[in-house]
Symmetry: C2
Subunit: 170 residues, 2 copies
């Protein structure tokens, strides 16, 4: 494989039968650029500031999980959905509880477990944040047709599914 653009066309065609490598050579750099744009563009931090939350990235993520679930969740369930370990969630919940954005309620079904429940202010905070994020993307994609948005959503969904399945399998 030659990643030098100047040598690309001639060397890669022979690499695979179907020319799949050639498509990936375009796709992967764009994927990398997307990650950079979102992470280093401080998209989340901007939305947090615009929403006036006073929270940081991991804390608002917990709040968003609760908002999307639209129901109290256990610490372990939040960790599972965020793909992080339990202690990380505990610390975010400590901070959110201190700010009165969530409450800890003992799970009636299991005295060991705690249900994390957003307060009305917590829900409002998550909504302000989500509104800022959605608003940003909505303005960035103002020129996009409904078909293109749907096509990207559909392809992205399949891409993620296939990636996740392959990560689990390999």
């Amino acid at each position: 494989m030659d990643v030098n653009p100047r040598a690309r066309a001639s060397s890669d065609a022979a690499e695979t039968g179907g020319g799949g490598e050639l498509d990936l050579m375009v796709l992967l750099p764009r994927l990398a650029r997307l990650g950079t744009a979102i992470n280093r563009g401080n998209l989340v931090e901007r939305a947090l500031e615009r929403a006036g939350t006073g929270l940081d990235r991991p804390a608002v993520n917990v709040l968003v999980q609760l908002r999307m679930a639209d129901a109290p969740l256990r610490v372990g369930e939040i960790a599972h959905r965020m793909q992080v370990v339990g202690p990380h969630v505990t610390r975010q919940v400590n901070e959110l509880e201190r700010r009165l954005l969530v409450r800890r309620v003992v799970d009636p079904d299991d005295q060991r477990a705690r249900l994390i429940e957003p307060t009305p202010e917590g829900t409002a905070c998550a909504d302000r944040y989500l509104k800022a994020v959605f608003g940003f993307f909505d303005r960035a994609l103002a020129d996009w047709s409904a078909e293109d948005r749907r096509a990207l959503g559909s392809l992205l969904g399949r891409f993620t599914d296939d990636l996740t399945a392959h990560l689990a399998a390999e």
Copy 2:
């Protein structure tokens, strides 16, 4: 905006004229899922291990920048391309130099600057890593038609461009 899936269909249609919010409600969670799959799936770490590099994520990223440029680069230029600050690159270069994967050469045009140049082993290391990454995606997307790959690449490119432009503008 209501992020509860059960209430979604009825409440959001009235939110915007063109129904753009509705598409984003599908698109953004998939984008978030993609980020999670790639980052928490340890895709990079797997490729690093498979390539037997002994390097970590930031170090191999420097090596990949040099490989893609196919020419020696200044520390500042690498930092710019990686969207990080200078000292971060210096540290990775220190490590890469210690492992004899890059060399520091004084820039003949400016005695202050250093050109970072991969050694043959450095180039080979980057190639093994890239081959592992491309191989992974190639297998994950084995069922994809060339058209779908191209469509995703094209939409992703436009998406990133619009996002980047909007981040710079707002």
